[in-house]
Structures are given as C-alpha cells and as structure tokens.
Amino acid sequence: MNDLSPWLLLAGLGAFHGINPAMGWLFAVALGMHGESRRIVWLSLVPIAIGHALSIAVVVAAVLTLGLIIDQRLLEMACGAVLLGWAAYYAVYGHRHRVRVGMQTGFAGLGIWSFLMATSHGAGLMLLPAVLSLCLAAAPGGELTAARSIPVSLAAIGVHMGAMLVVTAAIAVIVYDWLGLSFLRRGWINLDYLWIVALTVTGFILIL
C-alpha cells in the first residue's frame, strides 16, 4: 500500500469523468436554468454522483466476483478484451441510443440517466487496472479474497467519486453562476475521442 499511483489514477479518472459534459454537470446546469435555481444545480449533483458510483460498483463487483473464481491472469486478459471491445463498440455506435430521460425528469430519473451514461461510456471498466492492482496488493499471497477486496474497492470507488464530484460541482457552479453556456459552442471538445483512447489504453494495460 506504499504505492500511491493507483489512488492518484483513480482520482485523475474521477476528474476526467467529471469534466465530461455528458457525465452530468451540464444536465445539472440545464435543470438549474429551467428551475432558475442554484439549489437545483447542487441537488442534481447528488443523483448524478450516486448513479455514476453505482455503475462503477456494479462493474467492479462483477469483476471481483469473477476474480474469486478464475485465475488472476485470465481475469486481466478477459477484462482487457472487454475494454477493447467496448472501445470499438463505442467508437462505432456508442453515441446513439434510446433517450429515456428528458428535461422534466426527477432526481430518480437523473440517477438512472447517470447510471446509464456511465455504464454505456464504460466508466467502471476504465478503473479496473487501478482497482485490481489495489485489491491484489491488499491480498495475502497475491490471491484475491472477498474480505480484503471489498473494503479496498469501496475505498477506490470513494476516491474516484470524490474527485469526480468535486470537479463536476466546480464546473457546474462556475458555468451556472459566471461562465454561461456560450463557451460550449467552441469549448466542448470531442471527449469521446479521448474516452476511446482511454478505454483502449486501459484494455492493453490489462492484457500486456
């Protein structure tokens, strides 16, 4: 546990997810504008964060459960293959899907939206190398165990979410209170490209 780099990576990815308008801050700002209320901006961040965290938790739980059954190397290969597949799918189809949540949504809908967005973007998959390395470092003899993995992975998700929430909240409030939305016209760079690169790199890290 001397190595801080997985934790930094988790926090960095949290910031990376947080700056993406498609992960929630923009929705929070829009809802605030519709309700003419900064309070709505703040409140909206809660379901957005919960949805994002749940999406990641589901992926991490599934992978760790698999890790209890199969060999570690095999697990990394399998996860890497899923990541590469996800990146490819995302590159081709990822940005088109059924729209289920609209501007009149309540907080429950917003949480579901955030869960779906994080899941479809492969947000949880992107964290796997960091989470796996932390769980393995915490495991006696390099064998994954549920008892050791659960607290470590919860902490990992907590660090990621903390970073994401701070960045999301900061951007949402700055945009809502000062900046306005006109910067989006040129400033909304194609994070999907970076996202695909991140998924691909993560996939290779796991496989190699």
Partner: protein
C-alpha cells in the same frame, strides 16, 4: 464523421442563435406540378452584397420525376447540444428531403460546395414501408433520438399516419416512432417542447383525400383533421387529444415557443366551415394538462363571383387560407401566410394569448393578384405560403405554391412561382425588399425555404 468541436451553427439557446451571422444561401424545394421532370432543391443567393443576389445559383435534381418535394430539414441541429442526449460533434451538413407524393427520401450533402449540393443516398419508398410502415413523407426534424420524419399515410397509403426515426449518420431507417399512438390516426405536422418532454402533432387527412386535390364532400362534411395530439416525447406515448371542433378543418403548422422553458405554441387552422375564416390557436399548459385557445381569427373577404374559382363561387368570398405560420427566434413575432387573400401578416405575440397585428403586406392572392416592385408581370398569382425567418429575425422569405393538386383548385389559371423577401422593422412592421424577387423558372414551383446554418423552424434548444 464526428469533429473535434461542435458544429459552429449549433447554439445552446435561442437567445444565442438569434445572434448568428446572417445567411448567405437559401435552399428551396421546387417541384414539377405535372410530375414529368424531376423536382429539385434550388440554391438561392440571399447575400445582399453578392452580384447574384436574389438569383438561383445552383440546384440538385432528384433522380426520379414525380416526388413532389415539399418540406425538408437538416440531419443535425442545435438539439445535439442537449444535456440528456448530447451529440455535439455532429455536422449540420445533410438535407433530408422527402417526396410527399413518392414517399422517397433523399439525403443531400451541402458540403464541400454549398452551392452545388449532391445526392448521397436515396431511400426508396418500399424500404420505408417495410421498416417503418409509413408512406407520404412530410416533415423532418433533427432531435434527441436522431432524425424524425413524419408521414401522412401508413404503408398502404391509409390511416394512420405517423412518425419514424432515421439514424443521423448512416441514414438507416430505424422504424416507427410511436409506441402507443392512442386515438391518433391523421397526421400533418409535428414538433416538440424539449424542455417539457412533449411532442405535438397535427392533422390533415389520409392520402386519398388530398392527392387529387381537396375533396369538397370531405371538407364540407368536416372530415379532415381538426385535432391536436400531445405525446410523451421519450416514452413515445400518446397523452392527450384536443379537438378544435369539427368546423375547424385542416390543423396545420405547429410552432412551439423556441425558449424551452416556455410551454406554449401556435397552430394554424386553414378554414372554418362556419364562415371560411382562418384561425391561429395557442396551446398552453393548464395545470397538468394541455389546453388551447383561439387567439387570432382572420375573416374571409367578400368577393365577386366572377373573380373566384369554381370551388368558391357559391360562397362569394375569398378565404384567407392560413397554410403556414412561423415564429421568430425570440418568440416575439408570429408570421402568418394567408395563401387565399395574399396577405403576409406579422403579429406581436409577446403575450401569446393576446396577439397584436403589427405588420402586413399583400402579394398575389386569388382576387387581389397584388404585384411586387421588382415583378415584371403586374398580376401575381399564388399567395404567401411557406415562410421562413432568419435567426436574427430581420429577414423573412416566402414562396407561393401550396401543393400540386390543390394549387389549381384555388388558382385555376395556374401558379407562376415566385419567391420574395421582407425586411422587418426594429419594433415590428414588415416591408418588401424591393431588390429581392425571384420569378421562378417555368416548370417548377417553389415550396419550403431552408436557410444556411439554420432558421426559425429547423432547430430546437434545451437551454433558455
């Protein structure tokens, strides 16, 4: 293909879109009423500093004859910036051009040379009938789930008409949009309130009741459409039907407020069986339901029997026939085309329940045949029809043909196509740009106008 930055013609809000640079080109649907030679999308120079101002500077012909090009739209627009379904890196590049009669769908690329658009894909009616179950394609809008196209008939050309989705990059037909259409059977126009997750649709009739012209028995029997339908935009479910009353025949163009926080809009009704008047209705939110109120009534004008087409002789009056309306980007001015009398009217609708007439010009018209300063032939026929407003609200363009089979019922001596432009006053008022008059080349009649970069009926917004 996606780009690094959003398309420069996408604006988060209508307020920002109203500051967009002026358009230099307009695309205009032009069709052959005899259905002998191919229809076309014409490119019109609308840059006042250009030497070819007010001229057709290019056109792309359709591969077949008899499509009856009518309305059309863009593959992508400002709704791509919506927070719930963002696709900001699409390009506004392709025109989606349906044939109302042929049910054929053309995808036209306006790049690399916007003056020389090219057809890149044609979807045949059989494919649309098979995958979506619809025919007689009418209006298109770019929206949260891609490209929405509506159709006036089902695969067999009967009721129900409805909406289908088109994938905005591959242009594959995705299928019928409605998941629960409730009591809706007739279709005409559709649009939405993105801020209120609501789709609105209006009604004309089944193809057999208009493809050979309006059927007097159907019209006088009150059997054309007279209802509005409200839908859950994301559940794709019919929520509410509002009947304007059987005497209000042909409920056409829908113009919801551009500001997504506002829950009201305007719809035009072509003709009242009671007195041949046309009317504009405002729909609005009343508690947790939608409601409508008639806010404008434009009366028929008494006329000499000799000046009227056979269809109208008995009535001794010329109906205004409001067949298109358009709302400025700031939701302040509503433009109303009176295709029968020849009026283009401008209303201040700052208070949507109490419109005030602020401007009026007359051109063409069944009886008046009013002229234009730049027209060589003094008596113009046809009347103000498809109207489009620049994003900044300073310029208004319109053409004079309604529909191939209906044109001769009201203008039996034929319609010679024209396109004109109005300049608008700072505080209301409209006047002809005396330098803008297109005497449309014979053999084609102009219909809908779309402006380069977007206009007041092409884009919808998620932010106020």
């Amino acid at each position: 293909m996606a780009s690094w930055q959003p398309d420069p013609s996408f604006y988060p809000s209508p307020r920002m879109a109203a500051k967009a640079p002026g358009e230099t080109l307009a695309y205009v649907a032009a069709f052959d009423p005899d259905r002998k030679k191919p229809d076309a999308i014409a490119v019109v120079d609308v840059d006042p500093n250009s030497s070819s101002y007010s001229e057709i500077v290019g056109q792309v012909k359709m591969p077949n004859a008899g499509d009856e090009l009518h309305h059309f739209g863009w593959n992508a627009c400002s709704s791509c910036l919506c927070p719930n379904a963002p696709h900001p890196h699409m390009e506004r590049r392709y025109l989606i051009v349906p044939g109302l009669r042929s049910s054929r769908l053309h995808i036209i690329d306006t790049k690399p040379d916007p003056r020389k658009p090219k057809i890149v894909k044609v979807i045949e009616p059989e494919e649309i009938a098979e995958k979506a179950g619809y025919s007689r394609l009418h209006t298109t809008h770019c929206g949260p789930e891609g490209i929405y196209v509506n159709a006036l008939g089902n695969a067999d050309g009967k009721a129900p008409g409805g909406i289908f989705l088109l994938e905005p990059e591959s242009f594959n037909v995705l299928g019928q949009w409605e998941m629960d259409r409730g009591p809706q059977t007739l279709a005409y126009d559709f649009w939405w309130h993105l801020g209120h997750d609501t789709m609105v649709t209006s009604e004309w009739g089944t193809p057999d009741t208009f493809e050979n012209g309006l059927v007097p028995e159907v019209l006088l029997g009150g059997k054309y459409g007279h209802r509005l339908h409200f839908w859950d935009l994301h559940k794709r479910k019919h929520l509410q039907e509002i009947d304007l009353g059987e005497e209000h025949q042909l409920v056409f163009e829908l113009r919801p407020a551009h500001d997504p926080t506002k829950a009201y809009g305007f719809v035009g009704c072509v003709i009242s069986l009671k007195d041949l008047s046309s009317s504009i209705w405002t729909w609005y939110r009343d508690g947790d339901r939608w409601a409508v109120k008639k806010v404008i009534e434009i009366p028929a004008e008494p006329a000499d029997e000799d000046d009227l087409p056979p269809l109208l002789k008995g009535f001794k009056a010329v109906p205004p026939l409001v067949t298109d309306i358009d709302l400025s980007m700031d939701d302040k001015y509503l433009y109303v085309s009176c295709w029968g009398t020849g009026d283009m009217q401008q209303y201040d609708v700052s208070d949507p329940m109490k419109p005030k007439l602020t401007g009026k010009v007359r051109i063409g018209g069944i009886v008046s045949q009013a002229s234009h300063p730049k027209a060589r032939n003094g008596a113009l026929n046809g009347g103000p029809q498809m109207v489009e407003i620049s994003r900044d609200g300073k310029r208004v363009y319109f053409t004079n043909s309604l529909y191939g089979a209906i044109d001769p019922q009201f203008y039996p001596n034929g319609i010679d196509g024209w396109m004109v432009k109005l300049d608008t006053g700072e505080n209301g008022g409209i006047a002809f740009d005396e330098n803008f008059f297109i005497d449309w080349p014979k053999g084609h009649r102009p219909h809908q106008v779309r402006l380069e970069g977007g206009d007041c009926s092409s884009d919808s917004y998620c932010y106020p």
